[in-house]
């Protein structure tokens, strides 16, 4: 409301919100008025069974009118501002140091009142609904209560689903990383002059295999791959004369799912690694080769250690993608979070609530993974890139320096 937002440019370290609250004068009346309105809105909500303010009606009335008074003061200040305009800073009683101090203290009171109302209505409201949902004998009609009821009743199903999803994503990503290392090694082979004909042949075949593998795996949906791997593997095992129960013991849906996600992620991780390796300046290879190092020595001692750093953000991104993409494995019956979701939805005939629970679970999983990975990346002195992207995102290549003839 008052002038001078220039104090707000103090430190870049604080967040925008913190700067606004601590340093911007507009916060005191304008910002807090919004908070006061929010508190009044909360106060007009129905009380839940756990509400403590239900036992102190008079107190709540007092709190409510404190908020109203705050709004009234703000309106008065605003009117003075409109009337006096430029002279506001010198004329208004609200800009004196003493009244500024009082207003600031008042603003904290407004926050405190709103916080009390928030705990009473929202936090205790959810707690009351949770209490109701977990003790209910049948599904409540209210949508939120019904979601909590399904979460409670289906907690074991969801827990199994979550652990399976995490196992698939974590083990799949780790296996895929090592497979991708092997595959990218094949992919980047180039015929070198000292190579004999056999080595040349193997290099061409290896690099060609990696290219075809990458094209096929990245060009088909993982859902289709899961079907081919699961049922194809099943068929092959049947050919060896095993009984169906024996096959189910070895080739479970989980194993097939893990194989699928590993093989799928391998192709993407290989491309990420290749992008990292290729973004290392060509001069590094040239310098190493000029000293007499072989192609492999130059790669392993000079180029790869630098390239892997470029690749770390993309590699860790794969874990986040795998947490989400493992959901398609439910198509072959892997008991992951998605399978749990459809199972619970089927039991209680409520689709939306069930999927909302799944969405929250996936979001929490990916956020935790992102947080851990960025810590991990910082450990390697790497800036984490955008982690929520898709695996189809293009690898950015640095422009090559023009060669001078």
């Amino acid at each position: 409301m008052a002038e001078a937002p220039d104090q707000s440019r103090q430190s870049g370290k604080q967040g925008r919100f913190a700067r606004f609250v601590l340093a911007d004068h507009r916060y005191v009346l304008l910002g807090t008025s919004v908070v006061a309105l929010l508190g009044m809105q909360l106060s007009s909500q129905p009380r839940s069974t756990l509400s403590f303010l239900a036992h102190a009606y008079a107190l709540e009335v007092v709190l409510y009118y404190v908020l109203v008074a705050w709004l009234a003061v703000s309106v008065v200040a605003f009117v003075i501002k409109l009337v006096t305009r430029r002279r506001y800073a010198t004329v208004s009683p609200f800009t004196r140091p003493k009244s500024r101090h009082v207003l600031r203290v008042g603003s904290y009171v407004v926050w405190a009142i709103t916080l009390v109302l928030f705990v009473d209505r929202v936090v205790l409201g959810i707690a009351a609904t949770w209490q109701l949902a977990t003790t209910a004998t049948s599904r409540p009609s209210d949508s939120f209560a019904s979601a909590l009821y399904m979460l409670w009743q289906g907690r074991q199903i969801f827990w199994t689903g979550i652990t399976t999803t995490v196992e698939l994503a974590v083990f799949g990503t780790i296996i895929a990383f090592f497979l991708a290392l092997l595959l990218v090694f094949l992919r980047i082979q180039q015929v070198d002059r000292p190579d004999n004909d056999l080595v040349r042949f193997l290099k061409v075949v290896g690099s060609g295999f990696a290219k075809v593998y990458s094209a096929v795996v990245r060009g088909t949906p993982m859902m289709v791959q899961a079907g081919i791997i699961y049922f194809g593997g099943f068929g092959i095992m049947r050919g060896t004369g095993l009984s169906t129960t024996e096959i189910n013991g070895i080739w479970s849906t989980f194993v097939a799912g893990l194989v699928t996600i590993s093989l799928n992620s391998t192709a993407y991780m290989m491309e990420v690694l290749r992008g990292g390796i290729e973004s290392v300046d060509e001069g590094q290879t040239e310098a190493a080769r000029s000293l007499g190092l072989s192609q492999w020595q130059a790669m392993s001692k000079v180029v790869f250690p630098q390239g892997i750093k470029f690749a770390i953000p993309g590699l860790s991104n794969e874990l986040v993608i795998n947490i989400k993409d493992s959901s398609v494995l439910s198509v072959i019956g892997v008991f992951d979070l998605m399978f749990a979701t459809t199972t619970v939805a089927g039991i209680y005939y409520r689709q939306t609530e069930s999927y909302m629970i799944a969405a929250v679970c996936y979001l929490v999983l990916t956020m935790v993974a992102t947080k851990l990975l960025s810590k991990f990346a910082r450990h390697f002195d790497v800036k984490a890139g955008p982690v929520m992207g898709t695996s189809d995102a293009k690898v950015v290549k640095k422009p090559k320096k023009g060669k001078e003839a």
Binding site: R193, P194, D195, N196, D281, G283, Q284, E286, A287, A288, R289, S290, L291, G292, L293, S294, Q297, K301, V302, P305, Q306, K401, K403, E404, A405
Partner: protein
């Protein structure tokens, strides 16, 4: 300055070298040789093929035709062990190309330890000598990214020397440097030449070409237009094209 060696057999002999990038012919039938202890500078306009010629000598570019004789082996032949031959040919690049994932000392010891099967301590002893000779003994543990351009290039020279090469190739070693630090790199090169190192230098530093080299090669449009002793090349060149080029530099 090592003219007394000029009667011995050449250390490197390039014969009928041809190279093109797509339709663009960069080198047409280059014949050229360097005797042990000789310092040859290659001058010429940008795009005349001088860098490509240098890069063909240690096979960083694969020639389309021709031979590069070095120690009795033809580097340009198929299946020849270029890795072994490159150990004896040091190269210094315009862009330094120091290994970014290592410190100064490790840059210098990587190749000797990997290829010469030297112990780390032995290689470090050799590296320290060479780093000292380029005036960088105080920077052995420094991260290469913290060095100035002149320091980087001197590390690059020391790195190449650690392999005890018979021949050093310099590809515009001072072109990426600020004018005031060009001198420190040229000084190191001059000292190296005085010690009798065989050098082929692609450069635009005409004073270096004139004062340090035994032979100056002028390249124009993929051919060696003229070569000769520096005095003759700079005072009385035969070809009009050479005169024209030098006039622009010496004006």
């Amino acid at each position: 300055m090592n003219g007394d060696n000029s009667s011995s057999s050449p250390l490197i002999r390039v014969e009928g070298l041809r190279k093109s990038f797509g339709d663009h012919v960069v080198l047409r039938d280059i014949d050229f040789e360097v005797r042990p202890g000789e310092v040859v500078t290659i001058i010429g306009a940008s795009g005349s093929g001088k860098s490509t010629l240098l890069r063909c000598i240690n096979l960083l570019e694969t020639p389309d035709a021709g031979h590069v004789w070095f120690h009795g082996d033809d580097l340009a032949a198929e299946h020849v062990d270029v890795n072994r031959l490159r150990e004896k040919i040091g190269m210094v690049f315009q862009g330094f190309n120091l290994f970014n994932n290592m410190n100064v000392l490790d840059n210098c010891t990587l190749a000797p330890v990997t290829l010469r099967k030297m112990s780390k301590a032995e290689a470090e002893k050799v590296a320290l000598e060479h780093l000292d000779s380029v005036g960088l003994s105080g920077f052995v543990r420094a991260d290469v990214n913290t060095l100035s351009g002149g320091q980087k290039q001197r590390v690059a020279i020391a790195r190449a020397l650690c392999m005890q090469p018979d021949l050093m190739l310099f590809d515009e070693p001072t072109s990426a440097l600020d004018p005031e630090i060009v001198g420190e790199v040229l000084e190191v090169m001059r000292a190296l030449a005085a010690k009798g190192m065989t050098m082929v230098v692609v450069t635009h530093e005409m004073s270096f070409a004139r004062n340090v080299s035994d032979e100056v090669v002028f390249m124009d449009q993929g051919v060696i237009a003229e070569k000769g002793a520096p005095e003759k090349m700079f005072t009385n060149p035969e070809m009009p094209r050479t005169r024209e080029f030098l006039a622009r530099y010496l004006a």
